[in-house]
C-alpha cells in the first residue's frame, strides 16, 4: 500500500517517556528519515515514578532512573534546550539557542512541570522544594538524608502522599496540609479519600485537611516553618510544594494551535487541532500535555498525567505519523495508573472522577484490601484496587463494555456490603493538589472543570 510516510523530517519536542517511546515506535514502524528530539532537561529520557518512591527512600540514586533503550533510534538529541515556538508557515521549531528545526511532521510531548509556590520570595527560601524532575528528586533525597526535624508537604495528591509515605518510612516527622477534605480525594473521591486520611494518620502523618498554608516563614534565607489558615503554625526545615502540575504549553502561544492551560487539544488519532478547531495533519500530540476525546467517557476531552497514557498515546501518535489515513489507529486505551504509599499498592482503571457513585465490590476498607467500583448514570466507569491488583482486569472489561453499575452480585470476597454512595468528587477549586486526570470538557449536569486555576 502506498502513502506511508517513511521519509522526511520528524521533530519530537519533549524527551521524556512519550518522546522516547514515540521515537522507538517510529523506527520500529520503518521511519527512515531524519529524527530530532528536543528536551529541556539535560538528561536522556528517564522514568519519573521511582522519583517519589525508591529515590526518596534512598534505595536508588536519582542518577540511575534512566529509561532502558529498547532499540537504537538513530536520532539527533538536542538536550538542555527549550523549544520556544513554532513557525507554522515555515514549519519550523524555534529553539532557545537560536536554532530553527525544520520539520515535515512534529510531535508535541512537552508534558507538565510542577506548579510553583505562588509567593516567589517564600518559594526561594532554602528548604522549599518541588518534585517533578530527576534534579528535584536528587535535591529532596539529599534533604531527607540530612535528617530534617520536620517535613511539610503542601498538597495531598498522589505525589504529596507518596512523599509523606517516604518520609514516615525513613522515620521523619511529616505534616501534610491539604485544602480539600482528604488526601487523594481529587482523584479517587470521598470514600477512598477518607480511607487515605485514616491510612496517613495510622502511619503517624500529621495530616491537616481543610486548611491552606498562608505563609512559609524563613530566617536568614532558610525555611523555618509555616502558618495555616486555621491560625496554627509549625516548625519545619523542608517544605515540598506538591500542588499538582502545569502543562507546558506556553511556548505554543503563537503557534495557532489549540493550546492552553488544559493542554493541546487533539483528535482520537493524536492530531493537534488548531485554534479554529480544524484538525492539522502534520502536528501530533502525546502524553501529559495532550487533551483528547475518549469514547468511553462520552467523548469528554481528557488530560491524563499517567505513565501508561504517555506510552500508549506516543505509540499511536508515532504510528499515525507514518501511516496513511485508512491505516491510522485511534487512541482508545482505558486510562490506568498506580501509586504505592504506606505499604499499599493502589491501582486504578478508568476515570474515577467521571462518576456519580461508588461501591465497594470486593474486600473491605477496614482490611485495607479492596476493590472500589465507580459508576456514572448506571454504567461502570472506573475501578480502584488496594492490594487487590489481580482482579482489576475484570473491571477493566466492565468499563470497556459500559457494563451496568452497580456490578452484579456474586463476588466471593465481598466483606463491606452496602449500597453505592455518592462518589463525592469535589470541585477541584477546593483542593490543594491538582487532579492527575482532568475532565476538560463539560458534563451536561455537573459542569466539571477539573483544572486548577492556581492558588
Amino acid at each position: 500500500m502506498s502513502g506511508e510516510r517513511y521519509d522526511g523530517r520528524i521533530v519530537v519536542v519533549g524527551a521524556s517517556l512519550a518522546g522516547l517511546r514515540a521515537a522507538e515506535t517510529l523506527r520500529d514502524e520503518g521511519f527512515a528519515g531524519s529524527l530530532t528530539l528536543v528536551g529541556e532537561e539535560p538528561h536522556l529520557p528517564y522514568d519519573r515514578p521511582p522519583l517519589s518512591k525508591q529515590v526518596l527512600l534512598g534505595r536508588v540514586s536519582a542518577q540511575d532512573v534512566g529509561l532502558p533503550s529498547r532499540r537504537d533510534v538513530d536520532a539527533r538529541w538536542k538536550l538542555g534546550v527549550r523549544a520556544r515556538g513554532i513557525d507554522p508557515v515555515a514549519k519550523q521549531v524555534l529553539l532557545d539557542d537560536g536554532e530553527r528545526l525544520p520539520f515535515d511532521r512534529l510531535l508535541i510531548a512537552t508534558g507538565t512541570r510542577a506548579r510553583a509556590w505562588p509567593d516567589p520570595a517564600e518559594a526561594a527560601l532554602d528548604g522549599v522544594l518541588t518534585l517533578r524532575t530527576r534534579d528535584d528528586a536528587d535535591r529532596l533525597a539529599e534533604r531527607l538524608d540530612a535528617g530534617p526535624r520536620r517535613v511539610l508537604v503542601i498538597g495531598a495528591g498522589f505525589t504529596g502522599s507518596e512523599i509523606a509515605s517516604a518520609c514516615r518510612e525513613r522515620g521523619l516527622e511529616v505534616t501534610v496540609a491539604e485544602r480539600g477534605p482528604a488526601p487523594l480525594v481529587g482523584a479517587l473521591g470521598g470514600t477512598l479519600g477518607a480511607f487515605a486520611a485514616r491510612l496517613q494518620r495510622a502511619h503517624g502523618v500529621d495530616l491537616r485537611c481543610g486548611v491552606t498554608v498562608t505563609a512559609l516563614n524563613g530566617g536568614n534565607g532558610r525555611l523555618t516553618g509555616a502558618e495555616f489558615s486555621d491560625g496554627s503554625r509549625i516548625e519545619a526545615d523542608v517544605a515540598v510544594v506538591a500542588l499538582g502540575a502545569v502543562r507546558n504549553t506556553e511556548w505554543l502561544a503563537g503557534s495557532g494551535l489549540a493550546a492552553g492551560p488544559r493542554g493541546v487539544a487533539c483528535d482520537a488519532g493524536c492530531r493537534a487541532f488548531d485554534m479554529y478547531g480544524i484538525v492539522t495533519d502534520d502536528v501530533f500530540v502525546a502524553g501529559d500535555v495532550a487533551r483528547f476525546p475518549h469514547p468511553l467517557f462520552e467523548y469528554q476531552m481528557l488530560s491524563l498525567e499517567h505513565w501508561g497514557n504517555a506510552v500508549a498515546q506516543a505509540e499511536v501518535a508515532a504510528h499515525n505519523m507514518v501511516s496513511p489515513g485508512p491505516r491510522r489507529r485511534p487512541h482508545l486505551t482505558v486510562p490506568a495508573f498506580w501509586s504505592s504509599q504506606f505499604g499499599l499498592n493502589i491501582k486504578s482503571v478508568g476515570v474515577p472522577t467521571f462518576s456519580d457513585q461508588v461501591v465497594i465490590a470486593q474486600g473491605s476498607l477496614r482490611e485495607g484490601r479492596l476493590i472500589a467500583v465507580y459508576g456514572y448514570r448506571g454504567r461502570v466507569t472506573a475501578a480502584v484496587s488496594v492490594n487487590r491488583a489481580k482482579w482489576l482486569e475484570h473491571y477493566q472489561h466492565l468499563i470497556e463494555t459500559a457494563a451496568p453499575f452497580p456490578p452484579g452480585p456474586g463476588a466471593a470476597d465481598l466483606l463491606d456490603t452496602g449500597p453505592p454512595v455518592s462518589s463525592d468528587v469535589p470541585d477541584p477549586q477546593h483542593l490543594s493538589h491538582g487532579p492527575t486526570v482532568a475532565l476538560t470538557g463539560h458534563l451536561p449536569d455537573r459542569r466539571l472543570t477539573l483544572v486548577r486555576q492556581g492558588d
Binding site: 482482579w391 475484570h394 466471593a412
Partner: protein, 403 residues
C-alpha cells in the same frame, strides 16, 4: 463427535499421550455443556476472564450438586487451593511468609547452588549408562529432594512420600470404572497419612526452631498469626505434593519435547541464555497441569454467549487455552524464543501457582545441566507410557538410550 462427551474423551486414558486434537475440538465448539451438567471452557480469552472473575469460586461447597468424591475429599479441611478469599488469601499469606517476598525474599534464590549440585550429582550417577529412565533417575529425585530440604522433611522418608503422592494423584482420575471407588479411597487414606506425618514432624519443631519451612510455620507468626493444627496439616500436604509433583512432569516433558525437537535442542545448547524463555514455552506447550476442575460460578455468568448457571461445575482447560490460535501464533509449534508468551502453565489470577518460582528455577537448572549430556540419546518409547491423571499429566517413565 458429540461435544457433550468431550470431557469423557479428554479424560479417557487412551487419549493421554495426545489430548491436543480434542482440545482443538473443544475450542471449535466454544463453551460446551457436558451430559453431566458441567461446563468446559477451552479458549484462551474466556479462561483468562474467568480466572480474574471474582464471581468464580474455587470452593467445592459452592456447587449446587457436589459430586460424591468431592464431598469425601473435602471432609478434610481444605487447603488454600480449594478456598476463596479472604480465607484463601489469609492462609496463602501465612504459607508465603517463610517461602518468599515480602518476608523471605531470598529464599528461592538461595537454593540456586543446592539445585545445581543435586542436578549434577544425579547426572554423575548415570553418566556411563546407555539407557536411562529420565523420570526415576532425574526428574523425580531432583524436585523431591529440593522440596524435602525446603520443608524440612527427612530424605529417608521419600519412598513413603512417593507412595502417598502417587495414590493421591491417581485419585484425580475421572475415568469411571470399577476401581474408581478404590482409587478415591486410597487417595483419601494417603492424604490423611501424609497430613498426620507432616503434622507430627512440624509439631516436633515447635519450640525447637530449625531453618526449614515447617519450623517457621509453627514457630514464627506474622500479622496473620499462625496456622491451626488442621490448617497446618492441610497446607503442608499441599506444599509437599504440589512442591514436586508438577515439576517432575515439567522436567520430564522438557526432556521429551527437546528430544522431539532437535533444532530447539541445538539452539538451547548453543545459547544457554535462552533457557528461561524456553521453560516458559514449555509451560505453554506441555504444561504439567492441564485443567482446573473445581471452579463454580457464584452467580449466573455469561461466557462467550453461553450462560453458565450458578452452582454448576465449571472446568477450565488450561492446556487448551495454551494452544489457542486466537491468542498464540502457530500454537502447535514449540518455539523456545516465543515472544509475548502469557501462558496458563501456572494458572493466573489469585490462585496462580504458589511454587511457580521454585518450579521455574528447578526446571531451568535441571534442563540446562542435562542438555549437553543428551546429544547422544534418543527416545526409546515415543509416546512414552503416561500416568493415569488427565489433570496432572506426565509420563510415568521416559526411557532414553544412547546411539
Amino acid at each position: 463427535m458429540q461435544p457433550d462427551t468431550l470431557f469423557q474423551r479428554i479424560t479417557d486414558y487412551a487419549n493421554r499421550a495426545d489430548p491436543y486434537p480434542l482440545y482443538a475440538e473443544l475450542r471449535e465448539n466454544g463453551v460446551t455443556r457436558q451430559d453431566d451438567g458441567s461446563y468446559l471452557v477451552g479458549t484462551y480469552h474466556e479462561i483468562a476472564a474467568l480466572l480474574h472473575d471474582p464471581r468464580i469460586s474455587s470452593d467445592y461447597r459452592s456447587r449446587t450438586h457436589p459430586d460424591e468424591a468431592m464431598i469425601r475429599r473435602n471432609e478434610r479441611p481444605p487447603s488454600f487451593i480449594g478456598l476463596d478469599d479472604p480465607e484463601h488469601d489469609r492462609l496463602r499469606r501465612i504459607a508465603m511468609r517463610p517461602f518468599g517476598p515480602p518476608h523471605s525474599p531470598g529464599r528461592i534464590d538461595e537454593l540456586h547452588g543446592d539445585i545445581t549440585r543435586i542436578a549434577e550429582e544425579l547426572i554423575d550417577a548415570f553418566r556411563g549408562a546407555d539407557r536411562i529412565d529420565i523420570v526415576d533417575e532425574f526428574a523425580y529425585p531432583l524436585p523431591v529432594t529440593v522440596i524435602c530440604r525446603l520443608l524440612g522433611v527427612p530424605h529417608e522418608d521419600v519412598p513413603r512420600i512417593r507412595a502417598w503422592t502417587n495414590a493421591i494423584i491417581d485419585s484425580f482420575d475421572f475415568t469411571p470404572g470399577a476401581d474408581q471407588e478404590k482409587r478415591q479411597q486410597a487417595g483419601l487414606d494417603a492424604r490423611d497419612a501424609m497430613a498426620r506425618y507432616l503434622g507430627e514432624l512440624a509439631g516436633g519443631r515447635r519450640g525447637h526452631p530449625s531453618e526449614d519451612m515447617l519450623s517457621a510455620l509453627v514457630n514464627d507468626a506474622g500479622p496473620e498469626g499462625r496456622l491451626t493444627d488442621v490448617e497446618l496439616m492441610a497446607t503442608a500436604t499441599l506444599l509437599l505434593i504440589a512442591g514436586h509433583e508438577t515439576t517432575v512432569n515439567l522436567i520430564t516433558n522438557g526432556v521429551l519435547t527437546l528430544l522431539r525437537h532437535p533444532d530447539a535442542h541445538k539452539r538451547l545448547r548453543d545459547e544457554p541464555g535462552l533457557m528461561p524463555r524456553a521453560v516458559e514455552e514449555l509451560l505453554r506447550y506441555e504444561p504439567p497441569v492441564h485443567m482446573l476442575p473445581q471452579r463454580t460460578p457464584l452467580a449466573d455468568i455469561e461466557v462467550a454467549g453461553v450462560t453458565v448457571p450458578k452452582g454448576a461445575p465449571l472446568i477450565l482447560m488450561l492446556a487448551s487455552g495454551n494452544r489457542d490460535p486466537l491468542r498464540f501464533d502457530d500454537p502447535d509449534r514449540f518455539d523456545p524464543e516465543r515472544e509475548d508468551n502469557q501462558h496458563f502453565g501456572f494458572g493466573s489470577g489469585i490462585h496462580n501457582c504458589f511454587g511457580a518460582p521454585l518450579a521455574r528455577l528447578e526446571t531451568q537448572i535441571a534442563l540446562g545441566a542435562l542438555l549437553p549430556y543428551l546429544d547422544d540419546f534418543h527416545l526409546l518409547d515415543d509416546p512414552p507410557p503416561y500416568r493415569r491423571s488427565p489433570l496432572l499429566r506426565g509420563p510415568r517413565h521416559l526411557l532414553i538410550a544412547r546411539g
